[in-house]
Structure formats: structure tokens, C-alpha cells
């Protein structure tokens, strides 16, 4: 599904990612953990296609396609979805209208008809109920005046409506209380399946109590310094990130 | 509860009363023999000034063109100021201390003058000079002393009085005088062009980072004198300079006019930082006397990647009319304006800046903090203009006003002009409020007196600007804020 090789990314001429290697296959869940400033969000934004993040070297292949040549909307239509850490507020743009436009854009790309307004509303209301969102949010502008938790739920709503193939969840657990965390995790688990892959980006282990990763990677100073199974997360929780100080690279030197 | 509020109000009122009575400590006069021309303004006076300075013809011609143009002009009335009519024939346009003999060194400067500057905290004698700061001291119409000139010369830095520069570097004067503020620019700049008597000249050669701060100290002493000085600073490619300016005047009942012109030129990759602490006599608490400060300050970022930064702390003057500006001509050039303006009693200030974006990728920042007390009026007036050629340019402006009394005014008049340009961005924000009751209460609850609390909040309010001042100045500026606003708080 996704193959990242020796990825170097810079923003404003500052190198943030310094040789990332990562392979995510169909149906897998990968957790990427790391301290603040390690480059976790940069990885999300780079995969989603944010222009300010420029790839200096290395490659990202998604379903065999070179992502670096694709506009963010094409990546989205091909099935990449990034749930952002800080979803932006867009006053004046109605949330429902936005979601329907996005869904129709994705459908059109797949050669499908536009979804009927009525069917769409039925679908959205059902999904909203599942993740405990008030219908009031349909009438509001995109994320405007939403609390931190509401914004995160809105991201998960989009995830379940757009049904991408690869979901990257960037610190989706931050700012959620325990009940919200459960609901959001259930949403993600419902989404997951043999055809759907997930990258969980998180600072803390607690999200992994609800969403079981197949692999855990530790990102530090722009490099993946250690990879392992879900037990690695527990070890990290116990011993802290300092435990891994001194490790520079776990695998595959990049030049 | 109500009682408590009344008490608090009462305390505030008392405090503000004290502020109004705070002393202007630079208000002494110096007794010294002066060489003075008679009151009034005509072509002969212009010629006389030029003659006294033994100026080349081109300069006299320039002065005369300015004077002739000035006669066709009217005093501007657009500022938010009430100005008593100025009788330009009642002003003395030239007054210089009589020289007892030809000066060979600084130590031969008149003792009275040395003394004056000592009392102002600006020692001029060789052994007591401020370390790390070169000073040009201007007394009424002339520069009386310039320190460290010789030392700077070794690096090729020219730092001298304007008159000396006219004598020794006429080619630079000819090239740059009026190149940023043309003699026709505005009523007061034109008047200055006709009658300016002295000022400061700085030239920083290519690639030189000026090793010490350069400064001018302006002192008005003679009654009825108008001070008209010019400052010209040229920073050649890749050079950099920090320039400081201070000013004071005796307490007199009549209003006195100060109409200066400052021109800055920054060539490719050059940086000029210009800081002012303006403490002209503000008049008494009834609004009698004080300096009319009508100053034109403008810099041009002529070269690519150049930067001009203005910082000002305006506490003095009866009336301040002043808009230090930047013309951002070079690509990637940067303009900054940081200002604190304090008005109290019957002071009036209409001050701000202009940022004229001409070059590509130019950036400007405006941070203005106005504090009004007593019966004063304090206005921010600023222009940000993005022309068609200034693609991908940015401006951010933040103008905040703090009100310390219910008889004063705080006004904000920004002008934003974006013409045929859809790649640039201008953002302006402004707030006006009284000093925060909650903040005061919080600080008092932690044991601070009302006065200390006000002082602390005002200082916090100005922090962003004060941080821009060089160390020596920041301390003085803080003290000045205390004096201007905090009465007995020391």
C-alpha cells in the first residue's frame, strides 16, 4: 500500500525528516511514536501533500504511484486520508456542504455517480450518531467554534464517510477525555478491515489500548530509531523515550 | 462592594493626579553667551545661515529653492491636533554658543556646555565619555561636540556634525541630501530644508559593522529659538549601524518649535537601527509651554535585503507630529516601526509610520503602543501601501492604546492601500482599553502598591517595544515612563 524509502523532507530549508523507511501493507496498523519535535506531523503532512514540505530525496510510493507528483486532492481521491492534529476552522463554509462536495469528488474520481442529497444526509446522520456528534454540527461551519474533542470527532466522521484506503491519524487522541477516546477508537476500528491500512501517530501509549497496532515504530530526530511489535509501545510507556537515546538508526542506512 | 469600587476609583484618581504633577527634571536653563540672529524669516536669514556656515553654492541654492517653495505652502491641518497658530516671524532661526577661541579638542568646549550635557547624563569629556557610544551633541542650532570621531575614522566610518560633513564630504551631501525627504516634501520638512542649521552625519562604508552605537543628543536652550537640524545616515552595502537619539529642553512658558528632518539610506544588505527617546519639555500641567515637535523621519531601503528599523519612545513635547517611515524599494527589504507614545496633562501626539512597499518580497512590522492620561490626546496614524510591484509582500500591524483617565483621548487612524496586487497581504489589529481592573487587582492582591501595579502593567504593555531598544536606552526609557506616568514611583 505505502512504501517510503530514505525520505528526507525539509521545511524552510530546515531538514526535518532525515531518511525515513516505512512499509505499510494492506490491512496493517502501524503506530508511529516519538517525542515532540521528532517529525511525526511532518510525516503526516508530507504524505498528505502539503506544499511547504519539500522532499529533498527519497521516495513515497502509494499503490505503486509516486506520491510526490500528485496534488493533495488527487492523493485524497486515491484513498489517502489524514486526520490532522489541529483541524483548521473555515468560517462561512457549511460542514455538510463541505463533506458532500468532498465525497462526490472522491466518487467521481472512482467513476461513481454523485450521492443523492437524501441518501447522503441519512448516511451522515447515522455515522454522527455512532461517534456521538450532535446533528447541530451539520449546520455549522467547518470546525468553527468546535471544541478540541468535537474537531477530532469531525475528522473521524470524514474518515468514515470518505472511506479511504490509508488513514493517517495524527495525534487524534490528544485533547480527548477517556470517553471520547473510546468512541473515536471504536470509529477507527469500525473503519479498519483487510483492505484498509492505518498509521497511528501518537505521543502516548494509551490510544494503543483501544486500537491494536501490528507494528510500532519510534521516530526520533527525523529518523525511525526502533521498530517492533505492539509490545514496544508498552516498553516505551514504562521506560520513556530516554531509554532509546543513543540509538541512531534501526535499519537501512540512507545516504 | 460599591464602597470598595469607590475607594479604588478614589485611589486611582489620586494616583493620576500625582502623575499630572510629576516633574520634568531636564527643565533647567544654561546661561551662556550666544551668537544669535534676529527673529523672523526671510531670504536674508536663509542666506545668513548659509553664510555663517560657509556653505558651498549648491547648498545655498537648495535652501533658497526650499524657502521659495515653503512660502507657497500652508500648514497641514489633517492631524488630530489642536495647534495654536505659529508665528514664523517670531522665531529665532539661528543661535550658537559664542566660541571663545578656536577649538582644538573636545576639552576646549565651553564649560557651561559640558556642564549642561553632564547634567543631562551625557558626559562629553574625553575621560568620562560613555563607553561604547559615540555622541554628537547639538546645542540649539549647532553641533558642539562629537566624541569618538577619530577612532571611528580608522574604520572609515564618518561620524560628525552636518556642518563638518558639508565641508569635508560635499560629494556625499550633494548625492544624498533630500534624496529621501525632498525639499518639497511637506510644510515642516520644507521649512527645515531652508533654515536647517546643523545636525549629524553618519557614513558607514561597505562591509563595516559599526563597532559602537552612534548617537545624537539634541538640546534646545535659547528662548524663542526654533531648532531645525538634519540627520543623514548612509549605510553602504553589507554595513550595519545602531543609532540613538535623545532630546530635552528647558521649561519655558512659550511653545518652541523643533522641526527636524532625518534621512536614512540603506544599500544592499545594509541594516540601520534608529532608536529615539524623545523627552522634549512637554509643557506644564495646565498645558502651558512645551515643544512643538514636527519631525519628518524617513528611511529608504534602497538595496536588496536591506533593513531599517525605527524604535521610538515618545514621552515629551507639547505636540508631537511625527511619522518615521520606510520606503521598501529593494527586493526582500524589511521595515520595522516600534513605538511607545505617552501623553499626559494637555500633551497631544499624532504619531505613527508609513510603510511603502515597492520591492518584491518586502516585509514590514508595525507595533505601536499609546498611553494617554490627563487631558491628553494620543493618536496613532499609519499608512501601509502595497504597490503593484511589491509582489509577495507582507505587513503586520498591531496598535494598542491604554487609557489612564476619563478626560483623555486615544485614537487610531490606520490607512491601508493595496493597489493592483493580489499576492501581498496586510493585517492590521488594534485595541483600546483602560488599564485592566483584574490585572490591577491581581497584582495588589499579591502585595504590590497601586502605583507599582500600574507601573508594572504599563511596562508590560510596552514590553514588545522596549525590548527593541539598546540596553543603555531601555533603562532610560523605563525610567522615563515611570517619571511620565508613575509620579512618585521611582
Amino acid at each position: 500500500m505505502l512504501k517510503i524509502e530514505c525520505l528526507n523532507v525539509e521545511i524552510d530549508n530546515k531538514e526535518i525528516l532525515k531518511g525515513i523507511n516505512l512499509e505499510v501493507n494492506k490491512g496493517e496498523i502501524h503506530a508511529i511514536m516519538g517525542p515532540n519535535g521528532s517529525g511525526k506531523s511532518t510525516l503526516t503532512q508530507t504524505i498528505a501533500g502539503r506544499e511547504e514540505y519539500s522532499i529533498r530525496s527519497g521516495s513515497i510510493l502509494y499503490k505503486g504511484m509516486d506520491l510526490s507528483k500528485m496534488a493533495p486532492e488527487i492523493r485524497a481521491r486515491e484513498g489517502i486520508f489524514a486526520a490532522f492534529q489541529y483541524p483548521i476552522e473555515i468560517p462561512g463554509v457549511n460542514n455538510t456542504y463541505f463533506l458532500r462536495t468532498a465525497l462526490n469528488a472522491v466518487r467521481k474520481h472512482k467513476g461513481l455517480e454523485d450521492v443523492e442529497a437524501f441518501d447522503f444526509l441519512k448516511l451522515v446522520k447515522k455515522e454522527m450518531k455512532e461517534i456521538g456528534m450532535s446533528e447541530d454540527m451539520l449546520r455549522r461551519s467547518v470546525n468553527e467554534g468546535f471544541s478540541g474533542g468535537e474537531k477530532k470527532r469531525n475528522e473521524i466522521l470524514q474518515l468514515s464517510i470518505l472511506q479511504p484506503d490509508l488513514a493517517i491519524l495524527d495525534e487524534t487522541d490528544s485533547g480527548l477525555d477517556i470517553d471520547a477516546l473510546k468512541i473515536v477508537s471504536e470509529g477507527v476500528n469500525r473503519f479498519h478491515g483487510p483492505e484498509k491500512s492505518i498509521i497511528l501517530i501518537t505521543h502516548y501509549q494509551r490510544l494503543l489500548d483501544y486500537i491494536k497496532p501490528d507494528f510500532v515504530h519510534v521516530l526520533s530526530n527525523g529518523r525511525i530509531i526502533k521498530s517492533g511489535g505492539s509490545e514496544l509501545a508498552l516498553e516505551l510507556e514504562e521506560r520513556g523515550y530516554d531509554w532509546l537515546n543513543g540509538l541512531s538508526e534501526a535499519e537501512g542506512e540512507c545516504k | 462592594m460599591d464602597r470598595k469600587i469607590t475607594d479604588k476609583k478614589e485611589e486611582e484618581r489620586k494616583l493620576f493626579k500625582e502623575l499630572e504633577n510629576s516633574e520634568y527634571k531636564y527643565g533647567f536653563k544654561t546661561e551662556i553667551d550666544m551668537d544669535t540672529v534676529g527673529k523672523g524669516l526671510n531670504e536674508d536669514i536663509v542666506r545668513l545661515i548659509s553664510e555663517k556656515k560657509d556653505e558651498p553654492d549648491f547648498l545655498l541654492e537648495w535652501r533658497l529653492r526650499a524657502f521659495r517653495h515653503w512660502k507657497t505652502m500652508e500648514m497641514p491641518d489633517w492631524a488630530h491636533l489642536k495647534i495654536n497658530p505659529i508665528d514664523f516671524q517670531e522665531i529665532i532661526y539661528y543661535a550658537a554658543p559664542k566660541k571663545k577661541k578656536e577649538l582644538k579638542s573636545l576639552d576646549e568646549v565651553d564649560e557651561e556646555i559640558i556642564d549642561t550635557f553632564n547634567r543631562l547624563g551625557i558626559p562629553l569629556e574625553e575621560q568620562k565619555k560613555l563607553s561604547g557610544v559615540a555622541v554628537d551633541a547639538v546645542f540649539d542650532s549647532v553641533s558642539v561636540a562629537t566624541t569618538f570621531s577619530e577612532k571611528l575614522k580608522e574604520l572609515g566610518v564618518i561620524f560628525c556634525s552636518f556642518s563638518e560633513a558639508v565641508k569635508n564630504h560635499p560629494e556625499l551631501i550633494k548625492k544624498y541630501l533630500g534624496s529621501v525627504v525632498p525639499y518639497r516634501d511637506n510644510f515642516f520638512a520644507t521649512l527645515n530644508s531652508a533654515v536647517f542649521s546643523d545636525g549629524t552625519f553618519c557614513y558607514i562604508p561597505k562591509g563595516v559593522i559599526c563597532p559602537m552605537d552612534l548617537s545624537s543628543y539634541f538640546r534646545i536652550n535659547t528662548a524663542n529659538i526654533g531648532q531645525f537640524e538634519r540627520t543623514l545616515i548612509i549605510a553602504e552595502e553589507r554595513s550595519s549601524v545602531n543609532y540613538l537619539e535623545g532630546c530635552t529642553a528647558p521649561m519655558r512658558d512659550e511653545n518652541q518649535l523643533h522641526a527636524a528632518v532625518v534621512e536614512l539610506i540603506a544599500l544592499d544588505d545594509a541594516k540601520i537601527k534608529y532608536s529615539t527617546v524623545q523627552n522634549w519639555y512637554p509643557g506644564d500641567k495646565e498645558g502651558k509651554g512645551g515643544i512643538y515637535n514636527f519631525v519628518t523621519k524617513r528611511g529608504i531601503c534602497k538595496g536588496d535585503n536591506s533593513k531599517i528599523s525605527w524604535t521610538q519612545v515618545e514621552t515629551g513635547s507639547a505636540i508631537t507630529w511625527k511619522y518615521p517611515s520606510c520606503i521598501l524599494k529593494g527586493d526582500n527589504s524589511v521595515g520595522e516601526f516600534y513605538s511607545v507614545a505617552v501623553t499626559n496633562n494637555y500633551q497631544q501626539a499624532d504619531t505613527g509610520t508609513k510603510m511603502i512597499h515597492l520591492g518584491k518580497n518586502t516585509k514590514s512590522t508595525i507595533i505601536s503602543k499609546g498611553i494617554s492620561g490627563g487631558h491628553s490626546n494620543n493618536s496613532y496614524r499609519g499608512l501601509v501601501r502595497m504597490t503593484n510591484s511589491a509582489t509577495n509582500s507582507r505587513n503586520f500591524s498591531q496598535c494598542d492604546s491604554l487609557l489612564l483617565g476619563d478626560k483623555c483621548g486615544a485614537h487610531t487612524f490606520p490607512y491601508i492601500e493595496i493597489h493592483e496586487n493580489n499576492s501581498s497581504k496586510v493585517e492590521h489589529e488594534a485595541t483600546t482599553s483602560r488599564i485592566g481592573e483584574n490585572q490591577l487587582f491581581y497584582l495588589q492582591q499579591r502585595g504590590l502598591s497601586m502605583e507599582d501595579a500600574v507601573s508594572m502593567i504599563v511596562n508590560g504593555f510596552c514590553k514588545e517595544v522596549l525590548n527593541e531598544l539598546p540596553m543603555e536606552f531601555a533603562v532610560e526609557a523605563q525610567k522615563l515612563l515611570d517619571i511620565s506616568l508613575e509620579g512618585s514611583v521611582g
Binding site: 485524497a76 469528488a105 | 478626560k407 501581498s424 492590521h428 482599553s433
Partner: protein, 436 residues
């Protein structure tokens, strides 16, 4: 350039005298016109040397050959009017065709406590008492007000009785048809909302595409204690017309005023909005949006006066500019001495779609009281790149995302329009105008 430019051509159509068509009309109307005329002749129209007109040049008006035909004899085909008339947004509407009240197209729903008529009728019937307060709202009359007064002869007069809430808005439609010879229209509307009443007024200005005309209108609203008035203005005049519209509002205590302006039309448009809160506990909310293209010029000029304590004001203007269009925002918040506990916010934002469009913005705060909370912000620039990226990351194409954000920028203001018929109409206009 002088501060004023003579504009005899604007006053010439009156000939040597003033309009004296209605002999029954009181002396006051005659005086109003006479005074307006003589004051206008004294000054002419303001040039850009006058601070209030710094960015809007009216001098093209002085070069036109204007006519004024209040009682034009050539009848306009009703079918044509029918075709051009915009859909009515209320069961109660007054239609003015080329500045003149049209009985045929108007419909007044008789309602207890609500007095609605046109100026001519009111003058004819000698009800001069209604006009007692005329000219009391707004600041000192400017040249354009004087010009309007010189021609004062038609418009709407509405008085909402004490504690009356009609429950429906009144829709005023000003339609220009077949105005081929540079006609001028000077409507004057007077609204009096008595104590405790509630009222909503929609003014709509539009015309056929071929007319060339100058609309110079004044709406004066008196909001008495505890009353609440919402005002909507939709302007879709054609691109060769001039439009100067003044909205002068005076508010008593504990009143509410909502102004909602949407400007799409006009070669040159000037919206003057002046609200004076002359009693404590009042609020003024001024919202505006505009969409300009081609060589259009729109100037929103607002003044909000906090003359008493405990008043609140909000002001928001958002505009989108395409082509070589030009927008001006000049908004002043004034807080008088003693007007403590003032709360005021103002924002003006413009979006430049084209590299040939220009914006001049001049938000001003003038404050003479200490216990206040005032702020303003102004921005001119482009669409937010973060928002654009967010939409694209959800699969929405670049152009579509631009379109959504551009209309969202204006809908932000539109959301604040309480009348959904009005906002629906404007939303349709937006959707048809915004093409990226």
C-alpha cells in the same frame, strides 16, 4: 485640486426654482428643497481632497448631462416593469420606478399600528407632522444630502406604532427602467419606529442593463426607546450606474439596530451608514458584504457613535474583488466623553482575486472615554492557504476549493442576516457570481 468641485449640471434640471409640484405640501417641504439647493450650490461635490472622499472620486458625475423627470409623460410598459421587477420578499412592498412611486406594483397590507405611504401622498394629504423629525438623524448634512433634499419628492414613509411588531418586513424596490438620458433619482425614506416596536425593512436597488442613471438616496431611521429595527440593502444596479446611498440612524435607549448591506452592482457605489446611539443600553450591528468585478468601485463609509454609556457595537465587512475593481472601507467608531462601558468591535476584510484589483481601507477608532473595550482589525489578502490545503486533502479540487472558500468568505457575513428570504436571495447571487 480644490476641496469641492462645482457641479451645476446636477442642479440645472431644477431650472431657476425648486420643485413645487404639490401646492398642498407644507412650507417645510419647500424650505427643505430650497435649503438643500442653496447649500449644494455653495459647495458643489466633494473632491478627493476631502478626507471622507479620499478614495472615491465623484468628479465623473460633474461631466454628465443629467435630466430629472419626476413626471415623465412617456409611460413605461407595465409588462417591461413586470419582467424586470425582482421577486418580492414580503407581502408588503412599495415599488418605485425611476424614483417615482408606482401604485400599480405596490401592495400595502393594512396593519394595525403600521403607517405606510409614499412621500408624495403624505405631503398631499398635509400630514406634515410625520416629517417633524426629518434630517435629525445622521451627522451634519453633506453635499450629497443637500442634493437629495433639493429634489425631495418621493420615497417611503413608515411609522411603526408603540409596541407594534408587524411580523413581516416591508420591501422597498427601486427600479430603474429605460433611463437612457442620464436620469437622476433622489428618493428619501423616513422610518420612525416608536417605543418598543420591532421592524424590518428591505431596500432593493436594481435596474435594467441599459440604463444610465444616478441614484442618490437617503433612508433615515428613528429608533425610539426599546425599539428594534433590522435594515437590509441589496444593490444590484447595472455597471454603468452611480449609486450613493445614505442610511442615517438615530437610536434612543435600549434599542437595537441591525444593518445588513450586500453590494453587487453599480459602476460607482457609495454606502454611507451612520448610527448614533443617543441613549444608554443600545446596540448597533453593521454587517456588509460586496462582490466586485470589472471596473466597479464600491466605498463603504460607516460611522458609529457611542454617545451614551453601556452601548455595544459590532461591525463586519467582507468583500471579494475581481477584475480591475476597487473597494474602499472607511469606518469610524467614535466613543464620546463619559460613554463608559462601551464594547465595540470592527472588522474589515478583503479578498483580492485579481492582480488588477485594489483596496483602500481606513478603519478608525476615536475614543474619549476610559472604561471601554474597543478593537478593530483589517486585512487585505488572499485565501487562507491552510484552509485551501484542508479542503484539497479531502479530495476537493483546487478550483472548486477556491470557489467554496471565496463564497464562504462572504457567507460568513451572510450567516448574520436574520431574514432568510434575503440571505437566500443573496446566496443565489453569490453562487452565480463566483466563478474561479
Amino acid at each position: 485640486m480644490n476641496r469641492f468641485v462645482p457641479a451645476d449640471n446636477l442642479i440645472a434640471p431644477l431650472g431657476g426654482g425648486t420643485l413645487r409640484k404639490w401646492k398642498n405640501g407644507g412650507k417645510w417641504a419647500e424650505n427643505l428643497r430650497k435649503n438643500g439647493k442653496s447649500e449644494f450650490i455653495k459647495t458643489g461635490i466633494p473632491s478627493t481632497r476631502i478626507e471622507e472622499w479620499k478614495y472615491t472620486d465623484l468628479t465623473p458625475l460633474t461631466k454628465m448631462d443629467f435630466s430629472f423627470n419626476p413626471d415623465k409623460t412617456d409611460p413605461i410598459d407595465n409588462a417591461l416593469i413586470e419582467k424586470l421587477l425582482p421577486p418580492k420578499l414580503s407581502e408588503c412592498s412599495l415599488v418605485f420606478v425611476n424614483g417615482k412611486f408606482s401604485e400599480h406594483f405596490s401592495f400595502v397590507h393594512p396593519t394595525k399600528g403600521l403607517f405606510i405611504d409614499n412621500v408624495r401622498n403624505v405631503i398631499k394629504s398635509g400630514r406634515d407632522d410625520v416629517f417633524e423629525c426629518i434630517g435629525k438623524a445622521g451627522t451634519k448634512p453633506d453635499a450629497l444630502t443637500n442634493l437629495n433634499r433639493a429634489y425631495f419628492n418621493d420615497g417611503a414613509v413608515i411609522r411603526i406604532g408603540k409596541d407594534i411588531d408587524p411580523g413581516f418586513p416591508v420591501h422597498l424596490i427601486f427600479l430603474a427602467v429605460n433611463a437612457k438620458s442620464s436620469e437622476m433619482f433622489h428618493p428619501g425614506n423616513l422610518i420612525i419606529a416608536e417605543e418598543g416596536s420591532k421592524f424590518s425593512l428591505i431596500e432593493e436597488y436594481t435596474g435594467d442593463p441599459d440604463s444610465v442613471y444616478f441614484t442618490n438616496t437617503i433612508t433615515e431611521i428613528h429608533i425610539k426607546d426599546r425599539a428594534s429595527v433590522s435594515h437590509y440593502k441589496i444593490q444590484t444596479e447595472n455597471h454603468s450606474s452611480f449609486h450613493v446611498g445614505s442610511l442615517n440612524v438615530i437610536q434612543g435607549k435600549d434599542t437595537k439596530f441591525f444593518s445588513n448591506t450586500a453590494t453587487f452592482g453599480g459602476a460607482l457605489t457609495r454606502n454611507n451608514i451612520s448610527a448614533s446611539m443617543n441613549g444608554p443600553g443600545s446596540e448597533s450591528n453593521i454587517e456588509g458584504l460586496y462582490f466586485l468585478k470589472g471596473a466597479q468601485h464600491t466605498d463603504n463609509h460607516t460611522e458609529i457613535f457611542h454617545n451614551f454609556p453601556s452601548c455595544k457595537s459590532t461591525e463586519n465587512f467582507n468583500g471579494v474583488l475581481d477584475g480591475e475593481s476597487r473597494a474602499v472601507f472607511d469606518g469610524k467608531i467614535f466613543v464620546g466623553e463619559g460613554s463608559v462601558q462601551t464594547d465595540s468591535t470592527q472588522s474589515s476584510r478583503s479578498l483580492l482575486l485579481s492582480g488588477s484589483a485594489s483596496v483602500d481601507s481606513k478603519p478608525a477608532l476615536e475614543i474619549y472615554a476610559d472604561d471601554v473595550k474597543c478593537s478593530h482589525s483589517a486585512s487585505v489578502g488572499q485565501l487562507d492557504t491552510d484552509s485551501l490545503y484542508y479542503l484539497r486533502s479531502r479530495g476537493i479540487g483546487h478550483n472548486e476549493a477556491m470557489k467554496i472558500l471565496t463564497s464562504g468568505f462572504l457567507k460568513e457575513i451572510l450567516e448574520k442576516f436574520e431574514n432568510k428570504d434575503v440571505s437566500g436571495k443573496i446566496e443565489n447571487l453569490l453562487n452565480s457570481e463566483i466563478k474561479v
